[in-house]
Every structure is written in structure tokens, then in C-alpha cells.
Symmetry: C2
Subunit: 477 residues, 2 copies
Amino acid sequence: MDTYKNADFLYHEVAERLGRMIEQGLLKTGDKLPSVRALSEEQGISQSTAFRAYSELERRGVVEARPRSGYYVRYLHRRHAPPPLLPAERQPIRDISVDEMIAEVYRSLTREDIVRLSMAAPSLDLIPEARLNKSMMEALRMDPNSCIHYDDIQGNAKLRQQLARYAFHWSGQALPEDAITTQGCMEALSLSLQATTRPGDTVAIEAPTFFGIFSVLQSLGLKALEIPAHPETGASLDYLEKALGRHAVRACLFVPNFNNPTGACMPEGNKERLVSMLARRDIPLIEDDIYGELFFGRSRPASCKSFDRKGLVMHCASVSKMLAPGYRVGWCFPGRFREQFLQRKHSFSVTSATPTHAAVARFLETGRFDLHMRKLRKALHTQCLRYSQAISEYFPEGVRVSRPQGGYGLWLELPPKADSYILYQQAMQHHISIAPGKIFSTDGRFRNYIRIGFGSPYTDKIDWSLQVLGQLVASAG
Amino acid sequence: MDTYKNADFLYHEVAERLGRMIEQGLLKTGDKLPSVRALSEEQGISQSTAFRAYSELERRGVVEARPRSGYYVRYLHRRHAPPPLLPAERQPIRDISVDEMIAEVYRSLTREDIVRLSMAAPSLDLIPEARLNKSMMEALRMDPNSCIHYDDIQGNAKLRQQLARYAFHWSGQALPEDAITTQGCMEALSLSLQATTRPGDTVAIEAPTFFGIFSVLQSLGLKALEIPAHPETGASLDYLEKALGRHAVRACLFVPNFNNPTGACMPEGNKERLVSMLARRDIPLIEDDIYGELFFGRSRPASCKSFDRKGLVMHCASVSKMLAPGYRVGWCFPGRFREQFLQRKHSFSVTSATPTHAAVARFLETGRFDLHMRKLRKALHTQCLRYSQAISEYFPEGVRVSRPQGGYGLWLELPPKADSYILYQQAMQHHISIAPGKIFSTDGRFRNYIRIGFGSPYTDKIDWSLQVLGQLVASAG
């Protein structure tokens, strides 16, 4: 009797679970279900129990048996139609924490119905998709194992060869074995921090700076010491020097070239001074150089790494702002922290993904990258000028705007009493997103600043958005 | 005069750096160098300085000018030929730490001249490369942006849809929004640990267990509490229950299905008891179920997750042991720790790689995965039997070997006085690598055990290797 009861329970349970999968849309109308035999094997039940489960679902009108073919999900009348798309709801304006604000701005980035001036990345229109696809196909074809194998722990050998060649651009001198590849620049930064600090340590960062940096510091239990940064020349080195005397700073994490959000580019003399100031105290400098190749002038700004004599500079970058953010291809030249960096990379993610890294290597070695970058720099320079021009025209007197020499963003200072988070919410009601200044420091101090990304080609819609923003700023003043 | 001296220094410096790149092989014989104009732009020097740099290199015989074409790297006589490959050097046998031993075994895994019985992963011969390549092409073609964009922070939507369908296999019930994708299973484990523990906390693990687990615990500053595990039924729950009374255990990280190295599969009753024992104390269970689909019997063993009522089980897995380790496609069903897990994924690596995850989603949704897994399971079962058979024949009396019902490895107990690290070194002299038992615990306690992976199809070379190993064990006894 027990056996019978068990089988009875079993067929019912299997039918219930299948039924829920159909209701939840995991199995869709017209999908073929496993055969009775396959279901019995998968679930470790007898074929007769599997058959009973299907009969039960058939009785409920959820599946149908097709002769000599098997069971299929039926058309379900009671499935709901998706709700109609409504215009963005007007939400009451309230003040929220910097963390919540960042999460909110991030969510707005995935909405396609929005003009995303909050983005500091290339519009996908500027990326040569077809050539990148070609590089992927070639990489798969040329690799004896079609890139299915674990790659070298340090990273794809061909990619590291190319990275060492490119070091010449940032005035560095590097060998393929000096580079370690990562899952984008964020993994490079986080592994650099883990290789040089312990929870509770203090890390000097710029203010303002990219909010992803606060988030990784917080996740690692590190404290941020914010160094004020000038919108043209970057971090104040005098301030830093004094701060180093007062605080036990374990590492510095700076974005010296075309800083996000200000666009500041630290002059070479400052870079040299920064590197030697830290070298005297044996403090590692984690250099986020993700924007360095996006210069509008004649040549790429030097990296801090090029002034490094003690192996203390960890030079981090990626292709995310130049080519394909979704490929997650980044790297680090970790200097003397090579072993610690590699050990952590290996324990956290074993190796980098072979196909995407091999595809980027191929894109570099065929010269497709150089060609693309020349076009991209020109496009961005033009876009920067047109956005700046429009802002001068549409925004009221008293608004100041940065004049970056590279990168993706304009940093705007609004009148002192403006609140950029209120502006953000007002703009969202017009389906325009901007990055409010508050999200670029831990204490929300850049209240009357906004960042406007110029990664998208200038269109009528962009022009209209900037007009709307200008009017919102004017009416707030 | 100063200007002249600067230019003088500049051309020399640029020539020196180019020269070093040629010497180091970053620029190879026949490579075209940038044009004078391009070099001047890249380096921010005048065209005449760029010209002088090339003239200097030409004078040294390192580059040559080709009329109307530009500068090329010359054939260099002084380049050394690579040293001839020597047979593996006989190194003195010495005792080393568990960490050093793990690093050594890892290095042997990348050597193609070695019979790698130390590997617990599929031989690449068992992977349907062509079908996977096809899935990649289809994924790129079907995506409106060719997969170059940042994917959903939680992971590729199509992949999560498939993972929710597959949850049915491990007797779970899951929705696409319950899954978060990761860079392989190791990232899933490390984010699970970070979502549930803080440095200094204690985590219960099995002994023996996969050495990657010690490494990630160490990197996160966590303490390991080792729970003895039976080679057939897994962790001793009586021992665990007592240990939970004595230690403040913050999380458990177990491999309940086809444990690596023992191949043990925890009986369902034990899984249920384990989950409820931890639930009573609100301790999260990180379940590494990377081998669960590799069953030889009629059906997949259940997961601990299927007994979870409180959302405390974090179910982690990947395609690395089934399909393409190099794709780095893993996932976690993190239960109630969803927010913490997602926040850390986002701060450490932003999103997962779009192309590889989309390709795996495609491989799953076309049914290619089911077909492949049916073949793979059969092949592994056959291989397991043939390896076991050969070991019974070639190894001396007194050697005990596990009888796994799935997975990739056999766990051998050698006579008590055998030292498996000495055996490892002796085997390496015959170009055979095995995994010495010592690397599967933090204190090296499994001195007279070895793991032999059966992921490679059985060949004459494998047969010979097992004969050699058998003789080495016999002569040591």
C-alpha cells in the first residue's frame, strides 16, 4: 500500500511542478515536453508515473498529446496580456541616500525609452559591430580548440602581446608577462585593491569620482579618504601630501586621465610628482586609465605608470569605453604586486573568458582597433563640441561647463542653490536622464553639479533634451 | 639651447623604447612600424624628432626603410634560437607546503607533453566544438547589438530562462529572476561567501575537498573548519552537528553531488537532514553542484536546494565541467541573499560577458545541450569503468578505489606508508601527472591517497600510464 501511495504522490508532484513551469512561462505554448521515457529518467520515476503526470496535465487542459510526436504545451486562454505601457509615473520628489540615488540612476540606464544623457560610455552606434563579429569568428576558427579551454591563468597570450605593444602609447615599456587580464576594468580595480589592502584600511580617492569606486571600497570593507580634485588638473597634490601625513593611507585609487565625471587630465608634472610622493612612502597607486585612449588632442596623455620606478603603480584599463563593454575585457599591469594579484584572480574566477579575450586580441592585431579608435576619437571630439555649444546656448547665465580634452562627459556647475537630484527627477518626467552630481562623492557634496555624457551622436532628440534641461535649470533659478 | 637638448633627448628616448620592443619580440621581423606622422602624433613629438628616431634605429640596423612604404623591422641575426626542449629534469624530492604543491600540480595541467591524470574535467575531445561555435554565431546574429552591450546586471535573460527550466532537473522550482549569472562556478562560490560572511568568520567545508575552496577562503580571510567526509556518503552529519555546537560557523560550503576528489554523493535523506540542521541555526549552505548533471545512473541526484524552505541554500554551478570551461559561464540561485550577492557582483565585475553567456543560452534552448549531455554521461560512465578495471588489474593488493556514480575522478587509498607526493614526483619523471591526496585538505592529511581523473577517453597511452603508476605503487610498497 505504501508503494502505491508514494507513486500516487509522485505523479501528482511532478504534474504540479510541470504545471507551475507552464504557468510561469518557463515552458511556452507549443513547446515540446520531454518524452515519457526521458521524463522518467530525468526524475527517477517509473514510466507509468511519468505517463500519469502527463495525463493529469492533459486532463487540466494544460498540455496536449500529438499522435506519434509527444506532449506539447497548449494555447492557454487564461494567460494575461502584458499590461499597456504607461508614461513614466510622477513620483513625489524626496531626498534619498547616495547609494539609493546611484541604484536609481543605474536602473534608468537600462530603459530604452529614455534619452540617456546619464551615460558615460560610447553609444553602440559608434562601435564597428560587424568587424568585431568577424574578429570573434576568426579567433574561434584560428584556435585549435575553438576557445573552449581554460585560458592561461595570466590571460590570453595574444592579447597580452598586443597590450604590451600598446603600452608604448601610454609611454610605458612593458612585456606580455607584465600584463594580467581581467573581467573588465572593475575586476582589475577590485583585484588591485585586494592585492594591496585589508579590510579596515584607508584608500585615497578623488572627489568627485566615479561612484563604482565607492561601491567596491564598501564591499571590501575599506575606508575612503576623499582628495579634492580640480575640474581641469585633477587631484590636489598639496592636499594629498598633507593628508598622507595625517592618515595611514594604504593605497591611492585615481583616475588621472579624463576623470569621470570632471574630464580633468592631470598634467604630466603632477603625475610625476604624485608617483614620487607615493614612492617615498611605499604607497601603491592604482591607476584607472580606462579613458586615456580617448584624447581629442594630437597625442595620448602619459600614464602615471610611465613614471613608475619602484613597481608601485598598478595600471588598470579595459576596452569597455572604447569597444565592447559586454565583452568584459580588461587588464592590469600590476608591477610588484603581480603574484598577489594573480593569486586572487585565480581564487576568485580561475581564468578570464577565452573567446571574448581572443576576439579582442584579434581585433587589435589586425589593425582594426587603430582604425576604429581614430574614427571614435574624431566622433567624440565633434560630439563634445556640439553638446558644449548647445549647453552654452540653452542653459541660463551662470552655469559653468567643463572643457574636457578627452573622455565622454561634461561636468556642469549649476547656480549654488540648484539641487541636481530634483533636476534629475524633473528631467525623468520628460524621459531624459542625467547623472546628478551628488552620486560622485560619498557625502553628496556636489549638490549643484551634473554630468552630461556626450557618447551619443548629436541628434534632434539630443538637441531637444538639452533645451528641456536648460529650461528646467532656468525655471529652478 | 634647452629646446634643442630636449629634442635631442626625445628622439633618443623614443628610439631606445622602440629598440627594446623589437629586442623583446613585441615587434617582429617584417612588422611595419607606424608612419613618421603617426609616430609623431602618438608620442606627441614633432615629425622631425620621429624621423630622427627612425634614422637612429636604421643606423643601428634594427629597422629598414622601404621606398614609398615606410619603416619595417629587419631580420635580426643576433636573435637567439629557442633552447632545445630537454626531457623533464630530475629534481631532488623534497617536502613542500600544501599551497606550493597545489601550484605545482596546476602548472603540470598546462603541459601538453604530460598524461594529465591529475585533471578532473572533460577532455576537450568530448566537447561538441562545432555545435558550440554555431551557437555563438547564432547568438551574435540574433542579438540586435551583436552582444557588444553591457548585459542585464543579473545576467543574460535567455540564459536565466533556461536555468530556471533546468532547475526541474535538480528537483528545484525556480524562476528566471531567482538566478544570477557569474564568471564560472568559482565566482559564484566567492560571491556567495562574500554575501554571507566577513573576514575572520569560520566556514565549514568537507575534508577532503577541492583545493580551490581553501584558496578562496584564504583570499577572503575566512577560517576553514573541516568536516570529515565518507568516500561514498559525504560529510559526516553527526560530526557537523557536534561542531556547530562548539564553533560559531557562519556558513557551510559543501559539494554534495559527486564530490571532488572522492566522488561521494550524499544520500537524499542526509541532504534533507543537513538542510534542516542548518535551517534551525539560520546558517547558509553554499551548495557547489558543479558535478550534479554528470550522473551515471538513471536520474540526477537531488540538490540540497530542493529541500530548502527558508532561502538559506545558495545553489552554485557552471558549464565548466560539462561544456566549455573557457566560456566562464556559471550561476547561483542565491535564495534570500539575492540582494547582497547582486550588489557584490555589480561592484566587482559590473556584469557578465554578453557573448559567451548568450552562446550558452542558445546551446541550451536549441536542445544541443541535452543531446550532448546524454553522450557525455555515457562516455564518462564507460571511461570510469575502464579506468577502474585497469587500476584493479595493475595496482597491487591493498589499494582501495572508489566506485563513483558520477563525476570525473577516482579516489584511491594506497597502503598506509605510501606518500602520494613522492609518487607524484616519480610519475612526473615518466610524464604522468596525478593529484596527490595531500592537496585536498589544509593540513595535508590525505598523505596516502591520490585522485585519478577519468575525463580523457581510454587510450593505449592511458593504459600504459596506469601500468606505470601501478608499478610505482607496488615498488614503493
